[in-house]
Symmetry: C2
Subunit: 144 residues, 2 copies
């Protein structure tokens, strides 16, 4: 059975896709409870820093500490989101897939972050189709 | 004479301070022209990802490329802002000071980013006073 927090991240990605946005979602959880969910908002709000992970952290608002949290994301975190995970001292990241984007696992692990990859086929299919249908938008989102 | 883009970053930090916020500002410039300015908005909007650099990049909106831009910031970039500079492929960062916060210069430079430090006394004084007067808020902003 899928972890409910990961499912929340996946549903956020689907929601973004249904809005014409980039289908990447994330959720922040503490003690098994989802405290915030977010998705990429580049298209929806013209916001280049609103990757899924960033939107979830923004939605969580000001937190005293993230040391007891887990961040779930449908796709491997880019350098921005990786730097944010490091800065916020989030100890554990659960990633849907890293096949369509490699992310920065080495940097995360070098700073002590536990990275767990689910290899979720739904996430792979969703991103692969998106990248094929919207290559320019995808390139823009990762600044390529 | 101070670079006008750095001056814009400094004035944004002053503006944040006058609003009761954290006094860190940033500006994004292209070809000597300031295209966006921002400041920390943790206090103003309860937004933990809105560091000065992030706010300036959000204000700049969707850009096709950042390879011809320079990011100015009053304080050494943290891991979040460093990861963002790397991800966005911003080649050059001008930093007001790194005395009150060391930032992630080594990581930036390891990814080929040119880091220039101005050692601006106004920035040092502003941050030092802020850190002394608001130690908890400062600790929260850097997740300590």
């Amino acid at each position: 059975m899928t972890d409910p927090a990961f499912e929340a991240a996946y549903q956020a990605a689907r929601e973004s896709l249904s809005q014409g946005g980039i289908p990447i979602g994330a959720a922040l959880a503490r003690g098994g409870e989802v405290i915030a969910v977010g998705h990429n908002e580049r298209v929806q709000h013209g916001d280049p820093i609103a990757h899924g992970e960033m939107s979830a952290l923004r939605a969580a608002g000001r937190q005293r500490s993230y040391r007891d949290t887990v961040l779930y994301t449908t796709l491997a975190p880019c350098a921005m989101c990786t730097g944010t995970i490091i800065q916020f001292k989030i100890p554990h990241v659960v990633v849907g897939e890293a096949q369509t984007f490699a992310g920065e696992f080495e940097l995360l692990r070098s700073r002590g972050v536990v990275v767990e990859v689910l290899d979720d086929g739904r996430c792979v299919d969703m991103m692969r189709q998106f990248q094929q249908e919207h290559p320019q938008l995808w390139a823009e989102d990762i600044a390529e």
